[in-house]
């Protein structure tokens, strides 16, 4: 299959003409590095999102009339519990609070410490000494990053929320929680359910939505249908749907990147093709000598391919080797912002390590065809040059 002698010759030819290849391999390395970084960031974000998904309820029921989301009646949960297959249904109180000073949104979550099926992060916060804080009407648990930000601004661990009717409620930071995932939780405040309802302006017998837990995932779709039949004014979101949405979103973002990236690839194609077309006098003479020695056109083409492949493999390995620390050690400065957006309370998350073989193969396939394609025609041109003419 691979002719080792020809490969050796090709490697020798590369080291003899370093200048020609250094430029191409530098660009190729940069391109692979960029594309690899984007794929690894997406992979890491997907993993981060799956942390969130794990602790989510299987079905979320929201009320919607006239296309607007409304607060749902709390006693709907009792009706949902009667559906066979539902193990637990609980009204949840949460919402975003506009914080004009930082031009950001804070997510307020009302926690009923006696309810079951709390999300993992919240359960850790409750068990880790947050219980008493959450039982007090004026205690709150803030995310670690948010606590720092607030202390910077006000100099003490207190925050006054403005109610929809204009009055104020002062809350004291009783504890700080450090969730597994920074992405969701650096703008989150946990507090007593009643206080949360008061700040968010939710009526006593209403809730933001209802979380439904179904132990058997096979039954989720059927139960979702039953809920839709029982309460036609609701929007039903299953975990599967959210998962698909995440997948779509990440694919979309890396797709947009690839679209812009293809301009870059095209430019590279032209540069590489141009570079390979220009054969020097030396090289022309060398090919002529080889042909005089009895090398066929396909042998010379093979040598040219081995040269190109050696450069590609080198650049690919180097690109991946640089991208891994850039993403997972330095957490992708600059490039990360493309995916996370911009806000003052920007989550200070780290990218969890997630090396995926299939992503690496895709990175290779996104660059290799273009690169090899740029080699073919110049290689053929140099292989069929007239020997007699070149030697003369």
């Amino acid at each position: 299959m691979i002719n080792l002698k020809l490969l050796e010759f090709a490697l020798g030819s590369i080291s003899a003409r370093k200048g020609k290849y250094i430029f191409i391999s530098l660009i190729l390395t940069l391109i692979i590095f960029l594309s690899a970084s984007v794929f690894y960031i997406t992979g890491a974000l997907r993993l981060e999102a799956s942390y969130t998904l794990d602790s989510m309820p299987d079905i979320i029921v929201q009320k919607q009339t006239a296309g607007q989301r409304q607060f749902i009646r709390r006693d709907t949960a009792d009706r949902l519990l009667e559906i066979p297959g539902v193990s637990y249904a609980v009204p949840r109180i949460w919402g975003t609070y506009r914080y004009e000073y930082l031009n950001s949104n804070i997510t307020i979550v009302g926690v009923d410490v006696f309810a079951g099926h709390l999300p993992k992060d919240i359960e850790t916060a409750v068990k880790g000494g947050g219980m008493e804080t959450l039982l007090k009407p004026d205690g709150m648990i803030t995310g670690a990053k948010l606590a720092d930000t607030l202390r910077h601004i006000y100099n003490h661990d207190e925050f006054s929320f403005q109610k929809p009717d204009g009055g104020y409620i002062s809350m004291k930071t009783g504890a700080v929680f450090r969730p597994e995932s920074g992405l969701i939780s650096s703008s989150v405040i946990l507090m007593n359910q009643d206080t949360a309802a008061e700040i968010l302006g939710i009526d006593e017998n209403r809730a933001t939505d209802i979380a439904v837990f179904v132990p058997n995932p096979e039954e989720t779709d059927t139960i979702a249908e039953k809920i839709a039949a029982m309460a036609p004014d609701t929007v039903i979101i299953t975990k599967e749907k959210i998962k698909a949405m995440y997948q779509n979103m990440f694919d979309y973002k890396s797709g947009i990147f690839l679209l812009i990236f293809s301009v870059c690839l095209f430019t590279f194609f032209i540069i590489a093709a141009d570079r390979f077309t220009g054969i020097g006098r030396e090289e022309r003479k060398e090919i002529a000598v080889l042909k005089a020695l009895g090398y066929t056109v396909s042998d010379i083409l093979k040598i040219k391919f081995y040269e190109a492949a050696a450069v590609a493999v080198f650049a690919f390995l180097l690109g991946i080797f640089l991208a891994l620390p850039y993403v997972f050690v330095f957490h992708a400065p600059l490039l990360k912002n493309v995916f996370t957006g911009y806000s003052y309370l920007r989550p200070e998350f780290v990218l969890p390590f997630s090396f995926s073989v299939s992503d690496t193969v895709i990175i290779f396939l996104s660059v290799a065809p273009v690169y090899t394609a740029s080699v073919i025609i110049p290689a053929w041109k140099s292989a069929v040059t007239d020997a007699g003419e070149s030697i003369r």
Binding site: S254, G255, L258, L301
Partner: protein, 317 residues
Amino acid sequence: MSFLIPEVYILFLSDIILLVFISISLFISAGIIRNWDFASSADRQYRLEKRSALVSVLIKYSLALKIPLFILFIYAEDKLADVLPGAMCAAGSVNATPYGKLLLYMKIFNIYFFSVWLVINRLDMKTEDLRYTRLKHMLIPFVFVCFAAELTLFVLNFAGIDPAVPVSCCTALFTSESSVFLSIGGRNSFIIFSINYVLLSLFFIFRRHTLYFITNFIYFFTSIISLILFTGTYVYELPTHLCPFCLLQGGYWYVGYLFYTLLFLGTFFGVSAFITKLVSGKSSEYIQRQSFIFNSLYFILSVYYPLSYFLSHRTWL
């Protein structure tokens, strides 16, 4: 929308590159078909010979790229199944648009077609007077048409996928009502497949090349039907799970890739032996043997799963 999925995007980009290359080949071939004259020592003939070499490099490159891209295509369809409601494996996403199935068939056909072209190219290179050059260039327009058809189907398929519309999962698709071939039942399909294999072996031993080719051709279909209806159920260890795509998933150690690679190699060498005989009049024992070895390996793998199930559970499904 689905063009922005990285896998689909890469498939599209690579197909565009191949389209450019095959168009160049078409252009060169047109010149060769009109002006090829091996006896001539004119400058033009010399130039045509050089260009003919370029065509074979381009087609070789296209095939070399098409095989990994085909695997990527299956992988992309498998991944799309996560997004499409109702789909659990590639079967659902392939059937998401009316073009999906056709696209899959066209892709398989094109891989065989490109390979056959390369077989003729190899034969041509071996002759001193480049006897088959005109023949192989006559095929290039067909290569172009087939590839253009594949690309059109590709665009129609992926532009038409709507992530909001539910699709069927494999168990709903591969029922006995869906196709005449699937109504014959698991046992029967395996018996037909085995008879087919026995015939194949007999024709191989007695060197009946044309008959071997015909049975080899039928083998491609009987083996896939038996894989869906019989062997597959033992891989899944579930008699109701009929699907040729779930085999490709991690839960079954990606064994599907092994099945299909063996089947491709076996049937391809079979076709290739026949083409060699058809074109050059000489039969190649070597290629024939390769074909038989891979077809046999496929057969052994197909028997291994049911047998190991029987030995460990003492019952058939």
